[in-house]
């Protein structure tokens, strides 16, 4: 039963990872921008929802506001941080440092106003019930599975069928060629940031509801998204989602074998192993040297 219990919490964690990783992977895949401020988007969304919930705003409105804030931040980063750096042909590292600086600033601002500790939104959804003898499940697990399936189906349909989705995939392959076909690569970049940032919102809200969110969660989210993107294979959204899910499950299942303190390190060992032995990831195309 312990195994099933851990598997259930692994799936719960894995869904959160999959959602955040999908956003990161989408942005990185389409624009080749290493958006490490993705974790900051996560805490912005989470704290917006929390604050509005505290003042008694109806939850769908709070959710909408969280979406608005997350998207606004993502687009802001794209327009005012990444674009000027790319215009002056800054290296990958310049982008990385700038994005990292931004996420540190956001984290410390949130910390200043809300404190270091973790905050939690309480709902009846997180009350665990004994579903099977010895197995306690909360309704939030079902809710997050359903939401994740809906979200991923929508994203998949959008990327596969719509013109803009095709454009995004083209953007990752050859921005120059895209321009010569009369598509606007700047607008597509913004689009990638809009979708990518929006994807993180459900994960942020689920985290705030189920385990609580704190300013330092941003770093963790960023690291996990990064790990899942690489393990899944850069450029593959499907890979990132699957890798996020797998990392979440592994992290919980290893508790049966090693001390809990090691469970987080296991994800990064997996990442390290992939980088060393299979840098293309699960579904990635060959890495360009």
């Amino acid at each position: 039963m312990l195994f099933l219990q851990l598997l259930a919490s692994g799936i719960q964690t894995g869904i959160l990872y999959a959602l955040t990783a999908a956003g990161f992977a989408l942005i990185f895949g389409a624009t080749r921008i290493f958006h490490v401020a993705h974790g900051a988007t996560f805490i912005i969304a989470g704290y917006t929802y929390y604050e509005l919930h505290q003042v008694g705003v109806w939850w769908p409105l709070a959710t909408l506001a969280a979406f608005a804030m997350a998207i606004a931040f993502g687009v802001f980063m794209a327009l005012y941080v990444y674009r000027p750096i790319q215009r002056s042909e800054g290296s990958f590292f310049t982008v990385f440092v700038a994005a990292f600086g931004a996420s540190i600033s956001v984290q410390s601002l949130v910390q200043y106003f809300f404190g270091r500790g973790s905050v939690m939104v309480s709902t009846p959804l997180t009350m665990a019930q004994e579903t099977l003898p010895g197995l306690y499940l909360a309704p939030i697990l079902a809710v997050s599975i359903v939401v994740a399936i809906i979200v991923f189906t929508c994203v998949h349909l959008f990327l596969d069928r719509r013109n803009a989705g095709l454009g995004l995939r083209a953007l990752s392959e050859s921005p120059g060629l895209l321009e010569s076909f009369g598509l606007d690569s700047k607008r597509l970049t913004i689009l990638a940031f809009v979708i990518g940032s929006a994807l993180v919102v459900p994960a942020a809200i689920f985290t705030a509801v189920s385990i609580g969110i704190q300013p330092a969660s941003g770093h963790r989210v960023m690291l996990i998204s990064l790990a899942a993107t690489i393990v899944g294979g850069i450029g593959s959204l499907r890979g990132a989602v699957l890798a996020g899910l797998v990392l979440g499950v592994i992290e919980n299942l290893v508790i049966t074998m090693v001390d809990t303190q090691w469970s987080e390190a296991v994800s990064f060992l997996v990442l390290f192993a992939f980088i060393m032995f299979r840098p293309n990831g699960l579904f990635g195309t060959a890495v360009k040297k």
Binding site: F92, F93, V97, Q111, A227, Q261, L271, M276, P279
Partner: protein, 288 residues
């Protein structure tokens, strides 16, 4: 008051060494390590264990710290040779996260979360150098030696070859440079210097635990290098001075509650990193 000034200056020297050592990797070799606090930590633990078990001579301890950190640099040299760019940063992040777990769980070597306590006062050739003034002098001399070494090394063919790899690896290789060897050596040198800084840090605090070697610390060191100026000799030192004097300066501003100084400092350096990358990517000391 004078002791307070000494303690800040000592920290500036120590972090100056750490940032300069990171600059060898980031600025000269183009290896974007975000796990430098791990090597700083390995140096600190090795130096501390040496002082507890063998001798409190600061020179010998620094050598031990440097050698240990240098050997462990291979952990990061292997991915540095195999992948680059985003992949390397990710590998370094992985090493950083696993390293912190090892630091806090390997009780026999690191004392776990409690850390290593009771590090004896530093001596140099049998002389006690643990008073704030003398210790500051030791750190300053060490910083001067390391800055001199970095300057010498980067002017030799080693440094020039390294910079050519940073700027264009394929071109350097086609000119017959042994890229793997040069990169591994650069990693070794950079991490060994970080080990020296770590050992000095351990003696300075007389106590080490994992708190000082976290991801945030790696980023702080990176911020020093980037804000000061990547690939310049004085840049990392300038960065260390700017970032370490911030908390002291902020404490003079009346409307910031003392408990929030750390947060405000973080905000300022985060914002500085972003703004500098947009408007002046070469840093304070860099050429435009």
């Amino acid at each position: 008051m004078i002791n307070y000034l000494f303690s800040i200056l000592t920290l500036v020297m120590i972090y100056g060494i750490a940032a300069s050592s990171l600059n060898v990797l980031v600025g000269y070799a183009g290896i974007f390590s975000v796990a430098h606090a791990i090597f700083f930590g390995i140096g600190a633990y090795a130096g501390a264990q040496f002082s507890l078990l063998v001798s409190s001579d600061i020179l010998l301890s620094c050598l031990v710290g440097a050698a240990t950190a240098g050997v462990f640099s291979l952990l990061l040299a292997i991915p540095a040779l195999r992948v680059r760019g985003e992949y390397f940063v990710a590998a370094a992040l992985g090493l950083q996260m696993v390293g912190v777990t090892v630091f806090s769980e390997a009780h026999a070597l690191t004392g776990g979360h409690g850390g290593l306590v009771g590090i004896p006062p530093a001596t140099l050739l049998g002389m006690d150098v643990s008073s704030p003034g003398l210790f500051l002098l030791v750190c300053a001399v060490m910083l001067a030696i390391i800055l001199y070494l970095v300057r010498r090394l980067m002017r030799l063919s080693f440094g020039r070859a390294l910079m050519s790899i940073r700027d264009n690896e394929t071109a350097a290789e086609s000119f017959g440079k042994n890229v793997p060897k040069l990169k591994t050596l650069a990693m070794f040198v950079g991490c060994a210097f970080a080990g020296v800084a770590g050992t000095l840090f351990a003696y300075n605090m007389m106590f080490v635990n994992v708190e000082s070697f976290t991801f945030e610390q790696s980023i702080l060191m990176l911020a020093m290098v980037v804000i000061g100026g990547v690939g310049t000799l004085s840049g990392p030192l300038i960065g260390a001075i700017v970032l370490l004097s911030l908390p002291a300066l902020l404490s003079f501003i009346p409307f910031i509650p003392p408990t929030e100084i750390g947060t405000v400092q973080q905000f300022i350096y985060g914002a500085l990193m972003t703004l500098l990358m947009i408007f002046r990517p070469s840093g304070i000391a860099g050429k435009l």
